[in-house]
Amino acid sequence: MTTGQDRAPARTLAIVGGGASGAILAIQAMRAGCEVVLIEKRAEPGRGIAYSTSEPDHRLNVRASNMSIFAGEPSHFADWLKRKSIRQEDFDHFYAPRGLYGDYVGETLRAAPGRLRIVHETALSVVPKPLGVEIRLTDGNTLRADAAVLATGHEEAASSSRPYAVKLGSKEDTPLDPALPVMILGTGLSMADAWLSLARRGQKGPVIALSRRGLMPMGHQGHAPIKLDRADIPLGTDLTYFVHWFRGLIRDVERRGGDWRDVVDGLRPFNQEIWRNWPASAKRRFFEHTKPWWDVHRHRMAPEIRERIFAAVDDGALRVVAARVREVEPDGEGGWRVRFQHRHSGRSETANVARVYDCGGIVSDLSQGTNPLIRSMIASGTGRPDLLRIGLDVSEACAVIDKDGQASDRIFAVGPLTRGAFLEIDAIPDIRVQCEALAKRLVGALAQGNRSA
């Protein structure tokens, strides 16, 4: 070895999943001097589920001014938009199309310094070895690296508990007569996306969107988050106590002429810490009861999108109901007869629809997922689901924890897969911080391994 005073030679990091999280981590790791192997089956890395859409109405839910890949270079995305002559100013009020954001991540990845190899395959397993990790791919090949990071994101398949429902834009979503009625399961941001796509396809038939509570996301407006310190925030309490404090704070701020959004946004830097410190009982109760309310206030729509959705509700093109599906049977004409029960009246109603779309959010049991890698990790005990089974159990440092509670020194995870530990880790402003910190730790650890090798 001839390192001397030089930086240790780059070591190899395998990243499984080349959506936005995987690509951002790759960029950070390359900047820090790693060689990266990115395993992504899609043709274009950096897009994943979220940024593969070509629908111009599918927008970011975060202002362009806060969407830089680099937390330390906040204008990086805005500068890119300027260079591309897409927009010159007012990035605080610009919610970019998500496909465009995918372009930005992909270009930034290609321009990143260092060595990157992209393997268009699906990983089947990651096995820790004495000198690193071994990754088996669907084509029968095996990859070796010094460490691996899983960035496989959200579940892609429609819920297996709703075999009649399809994902919008999937191959099951075949052309449909726009005059026919359709149903959307879910009333959140994915529902809004689905409705916008249907509208673009010329949907004329009625659209029913259905969820347990029938809550729709709020819209963005203004931006003046209140300033909070950690010392202000009750940590480690029961959920009821926390919610009481939070509502009180909103009341105070509104009395002084502020807006609830200022409080929700002011709390944002502490959300992960609040979550981490809650007792298991508070986490469970939050997921069961509070999360739908939190989500519609926290994850808001671009104002112009919200206006369109609400106009559709007003003119009857989109009907939103709080109900549960009770029974689904084929209607004999290729569609479905769906019986659902209204939440408040308890009344039953039946609708005949040509198609049911699954926009039911992203909460699902990890071990029931379709990702072969995650399944194999849980089966072999290399990883385990977190307390709520919404992701992989990871340490604060993103190390995957095995079935015996041991944190790995060579297998890590980022992005939505780590929701159990961090809760809010599906938006870029959170993911970029997580990826940068992990890349720095990894490079430090790998360099140390080099010296001792």
């Binding site: 310190d229 950690r230 202000d232 925030i233 940590l235 480690g236 106590y241 007792p279 009982s281």
Partner: protein, 142 residues
Amino acid sequence: MVHLAGLPAGDLAFVGEIAAQNRIPKKFLDAILSELRNAGFVQSRKGKVGGYRLARAAEEIKVGHVVRVLDGPLAPFPCASRTQYEPCDDCDEATCQVRHLMLDVRNAIAEVLDRQTLAEMRATGVPELGTPDALVAQAAAH
């Protein structure tokens, strides 16, 4: 809390017992314990065999989190709080260097208190901090 942390797992302590051992008024202790119960740090059971115990392992409870519940936002001065802010009488808060310094001080306080668990506090037994009566007396002083 430290008193409760010293109990064998599952045992309950009577309010009267804690009050007597730590020489604090029972009424006052009642108020504290009910606050702590509301926040989910202690559990109570009523009746003859009733009493209080920690709701979680002492290793999982951070001292700073308990203090926030009893005293509100950690703040050395009323003006050095964001949520319960009260300006001083003769002071322009935007340019007040003392306030800026005090905001740093409170962040440092949070840093220290949020690191310390109840279990560690019990184990170290620092005389002026670690004994149960000193903790409650401190709480009482606020």
